[in-house]
């Protein structure tokens, strides 16, 4: 975390002489209101996290009866039972494959598209960006059923199984993150000076050589940010996962309901499973969040 703290102060250190600092030192009332606000907000944010963590270590009677702030006894049983109550490991692998593949493909495709838009002038450029961005506003429910029919028909016509398969889900999810990724990378690529790739082209690189040797390395924070976004989108999606998967391809988004829809809800197991499926994304996100902020600052928020 120290890296983030040093990175974020937007002030160029030199442009802030000590003399100018003191009149800007915030008054006490400001410091106190900030303390109160941020404390309350932290409580609100962390409350569910605490419930998730503490309940996942409670014996079943603690989560079936009246809520207790502190467990009557600590147990790791829920963490052992979650794997046998539902086939959680299989869901986990499915989610990893689907989200991982969707992320890689989405990032690569977005890099090409953003490079095309930011470096070339061509007919239909504006139409392309507007169309791609406007797909963001489509209600998922509008194209859920048609997409399902298309996948089934492609399957019948060509034998490529898209419906119920991981491939179909990968294809769907990668287009979900694509518009935002392209938009953010366009902004990011624009901030990489053109002289750099022109110099590379003079040195004998083709346009793709310039892209991969000059532009992409200069835009790593933006690309990492886009990858984090794409992974989270695919890892968390519920609607399409619930319609487009079957028993073998089910992802965590749907699989987690396995604990909750039975007559007797094992809340301690639900919480343990929620925690287990959250750890990879939350840890990854927190590690990479400074890229996301840097990427947003340089790219999207201009």
């Amino acid at each position: 975390m120290p890296r983030t703290t040093t990175r974020i102060p937007a002030a160029p250190p030199a442009g802030r002489p000590a003399a100018a600092r003191s009149p800007m030192a915030p008054p006490r009332s400001f410091v106190w209101s900030r303390r109160i606000f941020l404390t309350l907000l932290t409580g609100f944010v962390l409350l569910p996290v605490y419930v998730m963590l503490s309940s996942s270590l409670k014996p079943l009677q603690d989560v079936s009866g009246e809520f207790r702030w502190l467990p009557s006894g600590l147990t790791v049983r829920p963490y052992i039972d979650i794997w046998s109550t539902v086939p959680l490991a299989r869901y986990f692998v499915n989610s990893l494959i689907v989200a991982g593949a969707a992320t890689v493909l989405s990032v690569v495709i977005a890099i090409f598209a953003a490079y095309g838009v930011s470096r070339y002038r061509f007919r239909g450029k504006r139409l392309f960006t507007v169309t791609v961005l406007s797909t963001q506003m489509f209600p998922g429910i509008l194209f859920l059923l048609p997409l399902f029919l298309i996948y089934v028909n492609i399957g019948n016509a060509t034998g490529i199984a898209l419906f119920g398969s991981r491939a179909g889900l990968i294809l769907t999810y990668l287009t979900f993150s694509l518009p935002f990724s392209i938009w953010m990378l366009i902004g990011y690529f624009e901030s990489v000076p053109r002289d750099l790739d022109e110099a590379a082209t003079v040195d004998g690189c083709g346009p793709l050589g310039a892209l991969f040797r000059v532009v992409v390395p200069a835009a790593v924070p933006g690309i990492v940010a886009v990858a984090v976004y794409a992974f989270m989108t695919a890892w968390g999606e519920v609607l399409f996962a619930s319609v487009m998967t079957n028993d073998t391809t089910r992802t965590l988004a749907v699989g987690l309901k396995g604990y909750a829809t039975q007559n007797d809800v094992y809340w301690n197991q639900v919480m343990a499973a929620s925690l287990v499926v959250s750890v990879p994304v939350v840890a990854g996100f927190l590690l990479l969040q400074r890229y996301l902020v840097a990427g947003l600052t340089a790219g999207a928020v201009k």
């Binding site: 974020i8 802030r16 090409f112 838009v117 968390g236 600052t297």
Partner: protein, 329 residues
């Protein structure tokens, strides 16, 4: 400007080389084709997953598409505008329910977007200056954004349980604010529950974007203002908020579209059938199509929803962009 400034693509045709006329032509052709090639994968996928299905969805909305025709939907009889008139007929139960769901969604969206923006902006402004523990707090605040929707919402569903949830335990057992344990996930309270979860989940995104936007405000503005004797509130009103305008324009729109179309939160919180008080439009349409197996009507409702969002987005962009131009002038 880009095209003229680019040297010969590929660099394999040095200017003035023998036979440069035809080679330059191929260079130009490649140069013109290359951007399209770069965009092709993105375009094809968007066509496959978004645009073509949308067109099919529009066609379906004019058909009488019930479960009998699902295998061969092309054979379903044409229904002209029947699905639409059914959806907007306010005297019939279907239209009435849709209108109710629409109003619920509007109220929910306005409250949720407003609160998300307010909390996110306040937190970002408070955290603009460095202080001890700021980096840690920022990481904590981003946790709700990073958590997968279903994991976070299931936890909230547990907290809102009537008999073994935290919310009733605090409100009833510990503070004695309610006469008895209340139901949160059915009945009128469900609207509040949904709103709380939605704000908890949504505000960090506003925080993230505003925080990024704040970093593009030149430091010197604040220094000049404080030398001129402007207080913190003045600085907020005269510098911070105006500088955030372009960021806010996009942020509010994105929050609006996400919240209005939100399916995941109510679906995980309530299961397939949302209580009437929290019957968001996406859930409502999902139920109208998949639970009652009437896909034609469901599609018509989706098209109406899309039209509404298009109009709102268009009007919003025209209004906010005009305001921006006047402000700049």
């Amino acid at each position: 400007m880009t095209v003229t400034a680019q040297p010969a693509v590929g660099g394999e045709a040095p200017p003035g080389a023998p036979g440069s006329v035809p080679r330059r032509r191929t260079g130009r052709v490649r140069r013109n084709v290359l951007p399209y090639l770069l965009l092709l994968p993105a375009l094809l996928l968007e066509l496959l997953v978004h645009l073509v299905p949308m067109v099919i969805g529009i066609v379906m909305s004019f058909k009488e598409l019930t479960q009998f025709y699902i295998r061969d939907w092309g054979a379903a009889p044409w229904a002209a505008f029947d699905n639409y008139s059914l959806s907007v007929d306010l005297d019939a139960p279907v239209g009435e329910a849709l209108l109710h769901s629409f109003f619920v969604t509007c109220a929910f969206t306005v409250l949720s977007v407003g609160l998300c923006w307010l909390i996110g902006t306040t937190a970002a402004v408070y955290m603009q200056e460095n202080f001890r523990g700021r980096g840690f707090l920022r990481a904590v605040f981003l946790v709700p954004y990073a958590l997968p929707v279903y994991a976070a919402v299931i936890t909230w569903a547990f907290m809102f349980q009537r008999d073994n949830g935290l919310v009733n335990h605090v409100l009833h057992d510990q503070l004695g604010l309610t006469d008895g344990p209340s139901f949160w996930l059915i009945g009128d309270n469900s609207f509040v529950a949904l709103l709380v979860v939605s704000v908890w989940k949504g505000w960090p995104f506003a925080f993230l974007i505003v925080m990024a936007g704040l970093q593009n405000i030149p430091r010197e503005l604040y220094e000049a203002a404080s030398i001129d004797g402007a207080g913190l509130f003045q600085q907020l009103r005269r510098i911070t908020l105006p500088s955030l305008r372009p960021v806010n324009q996009v942020l509010v729109l994105v929050l609006f579209l996400w919240t209005f179309n939100d399916f995941n939160t109510p679906y995980v919180l309530f299961g397939q059938a949302a209580p009437e008080a929290a019957d968001l439009i996406s859930i409502h349409i999902y139920q109208s199509s998949f639970v009652t197996w009437n896909f034609g009507t469901g599609s018509a409702m989706s098209v109406l929803l899309l039209l509404f969002l298009l109009v709102v987005t268009g009007v919003y962009l025209v209004l906010t962009s005009r305001g921006r131009r006047t402000a700049d002038a």
